[in-house]
């Protein structure tokens, strides 16, 4: 445990962690100090002056909280008249040239200027001189749109690109009221983490071209999830909304703080994976080419599994632990073989040392933990022997070409559970015996283990109009003993003792569970 120190805020004693600046330390105990330029990931800059607090009997009496370490016995004044005046005046300064075009600003609703205005200023503008006009709707590259008028020159975006990505595309040019964020002509934002500046921007100066004008922030429902784009397992917030008479769709993904995994950020590719969740999804379950109710397909498949001599299940390395365990249990019951062959999920030399990984599967570590074979030879051998092949959401078209798939399953009855069309190749899918449209990761709950062996829970908040089964339900429909997510979780706990202490996956801590090396690294 970190050492705790005692200090006084407005005369009241509070206990905070030592070694932190005042903003962070007091935030932990629920006391807010307003700030624009400070961001825990970027460090203190001290240029906005919004976080000035009074220190009683201190020298100097007024200090920026972002640069001041919390010390034992410190007497912090937040509600002194001079502090209130500072906050009020800083806000007034920020608003001198602010266009106040909240109606058309995407940040409205999650904008610090708005929040602080309501909290710390709330007065009408006294300005009568014309405002300084600057460029609006400037394309910064990388899907970032900049509005110079809304900028408060906090420099978070500049510091992110210099300190975190070390590409430094942006700079604060000019000075005084003419100060603005610009990229050097011809060198726009061009890196794989550029969209993080949109989240970092405390106001609406930087907005995402992708999300721009799609939805207002206050309509969006949030679901705490894990990015399934690669094996890093960045913590994300799924912002989705079901508009009247329409389907529930995701509008954007935002990073969620998790110091162990992704810090505060995520990559641009990961952000865009939401499009896969919305568009081009399989909707119908078919049996011999005809749309049929799910129960019929399950009954038919169950009969075929019983009659078959050799059955092969293929699971996706992105499936949650529960789903993998459910399929495993089904395999144990029916004597089938489970494979997690997914060589195509690994993209060589794509990853970097920050967040992006080569392996584009969200739960490969989990596959290993549950002891599911994934080698190509194993899969090939089994595929040749099998006369019934059931795919549980594995995008086989990534690993094998259409021809190869066709050759492997030329005389095999195939049940294809998939989220998107084309996962077995377009030609092959016309020939499959049955197909089931599955739920995707934004629509179910579960636990995945990332490349560092951290088991993390995720919640699927999206409720599509078309009812689809997830893999646990599909396995249960085919006769798996794990009839629900809870039963599957019990199976997972049997296989992975480190998770045994958690009654349900929701009890997993928010920062995830670091599985020990011998468990994770098997």
């Amino acid at each position: 445990m970190t050492e705790m120190i005692k200090l006084f805020v407005n005369g009241e004693e509070v206990e905070v962690e030592s070694g932190k600046n005042l903003i962070d330390a007091l935030e932990k105990v629920g006391i807010e100090i307003p700030h624009f330029c400070y961001h825990p990931a970027l460090g203190a800059d001290g240029n906005c002056r919004m976080c000035l607090v009074g220190i009683e009997d201190g020298r100097p009496p007024v200090v920026p909280a972002c640069k001041t370490l919390a010390k034992e016995g410190m007497k912090v004044l937040l509600d002194a008249d001079n502090i209130k005046k500072i906050q009020h005046d800083v806000m007034e300064l920020e608003f001198i040239n602010h266009p106040t075009d909240c109606p058309i600003c995407d940040q409205a609703g999650e904008c610090k200027l708005q929040d602080y205005y309501m909290k710390y200023e709330g007065t009408e503008s006294r300005m009568w001189v014309p405002q300084v006009t600057k460029r609006k709707m400037q394309d910064f590259g990388g899907g970032v749109i900049h509005d110079q008028e809304r900028c408060v020159a906090c420099g978070r975006c500049v510091r992110f690109l210099r300190q975190i990505t070390r590409t430094g595309e942006l700079g604060l040019v000019n000075r005084g009221d003419d100060c603005r964020v610009e990229f050097f002509p011809g060198r726009p934002i061009n890196n794989r983490y550029g969209l993080n500046v949109v989240d970092l921007c405390p106001v609406g100066a930087l907005t995402s071209a992708d999300f721009r004008f799609k939805q207002r922030a206050w309509f969006l429902k949030r679901a705490e999830s894990i990015c399934h784009g690669c094996s890093k397992g960045c913590n994300i917030m799924v912002d989705h909304n079901k508009e009247k008479y329409e389907d529930d769709i995701i509008y954007r993904l935002r990073p969620r703080q998790n110091e162990q995994v992704n810090g505060w950020f995520m990559c641009d590719e990961g952000r865009m994976t939401y499009k896969l969740e919305n568009d081009n999804r399989l909707e119908e379950c078919t049996l011999a080419g005809a749309v049929r109710p799910l129960a019929d397909i399950f009954a038919d498949a169950e009969r075929r599994i019983e009659r078959a001599t050799k059955v092969l299940f293929l699971v996706s390395p992105s499936a949650s632990l529960e789903q993998l365990a459910a399929v495993q249990a089904l395999a144990e019951k029916t004597g089938a073989t489970v494979s997690a062959f997914s060589d195509g999920y690994i993209v060589k030399d794509d990853g970097d040392d920050f967040l992006i990984k080569d392996d584009k599967a969200a739960n490969r570590a989990g596959v290993d933990l549950l002891g599911i074979a994934k080698s190509r030879t194993h899969f090939d051998n089994m595929a040749k022997e099998a006369d019934v092949f059931i795919n549980f959401g594995n995008d086989l078209s990534r690993s094998l070409s259409e021809e190869q798939i066709g050759r492997l399953f030329s005389d095999t009855w195939v049940l294809n559970g998939a989220t998107h069309p084309g996962q077995l190749g377009a030609v092959m899918e016309k020939k499959v015996g049955s197909s089931i449209a599955l739920r995707s990761w934004s629509e179910y709950h579960g636990v995945v283990v990332n490349c560092d062996g951290i088991a993390q829970k995720f919640v699927g908040g999206v409720m599509k109009n078309v009812e689809r089964p997830d893999i646990v339900e599909m396995a249960a429909g085919l006769g798996s003993p794990a009839t629900g997510t809870a039963a599957a979780w019990a199976l997972v706990q049997k296989k992975i003792p480190a998770l045994a202490e958690f009654g349900g996956f929701l009890e997993l801590p928010a920062e995830g569970v670091k599985l020990t090396d011998n468990e994770a690294g098997k």
């Binding site: 075009d101 909240c102 109606p103 058309i104 409205a108 609006k136 709707m137 721009r212 004008f213 799609k214 207002r216 206050w218 309509f219 508009e243 009247k244 008479y245």
Partner: protein, 176 residues
């Protein structure tokens, strides 16, 4: 705070009133008087003979919605969704898009109001920061034989004209 409350004498305390019958007959006499007067000559009825006699609509009347335009004919609406956010009946459906005519950056691509669901509360008008939506068309009778026709779109709302002179409408706003 001691508010000054006017004390009214309480009624119904006298024995004659407690019997009720006398009061009942008093009341019946009143209704009978009305009945006989109107039976004798029905020209004094307080009835507007509606489709033939149309009511006078004041400028504050909340009728059907319209979208206002700038003098150059472009819509004033910037698709800020304030009306949709404030709509208690959930009847406004907006799709926003980028605006290229240079007036602002954002404009509605589609703006639909389901009049079958609208409760004509006027919150959308009050919420609008751009004075882009008003309910001053003076159209109060609006029927349709199916639900789809009750949805009105952007072009239709833009084409509607206000039913009152601007000064009269503004005067109506002051009264609120």
């Amino acid at each position: 705070m001691a508010a000054k409350v006017k004390q009214l004498p309480s009624r119904g305390g006298t024995p004659a009133e407690k019997v009720y019958l006398i009061e009942i007959f008093k009341g019946m006499a009143i209704t009978l008087k009305h009945f006989l007067r109107n039976l004798w000559d029905n020209s004094n009825l307080y009835v507007r003979h509606y489709p033939e006699v149309q009511p006078d609509i004041p400028a504050r009347w909340r009728g059907r919605h319209r979208l206002l335009t700038h003098p150059d004919g472009t819509p004033k609406c910037v698709a800020c969704f304030m009306c949709q956010t404030n709509c208690p009946a959930d009847c406004i459906m907006i799709k926003a898009g980028t605006r290229i005519d240079g007036v602002t950056e954002k404009m509605p691509v589609s703006f639909t109001i389901d009049l079958a669901e609208c409760i004509y509360c006027g919150y959308c008008v009050e919420a609008c920061p751009e004075d882009a939506i008003r309910m001053d068309t003076g159209i109060y009778a609006f029927t349709s034989s199916n639900r789809e026709e009750m949805k009105i779109g952007m072009t239709e709302m833009l084409s509607l004209k206000g039913g009152f002179p601007e000064e009269e409408y503004q005067k109506g706003l002051e009264g609120e």
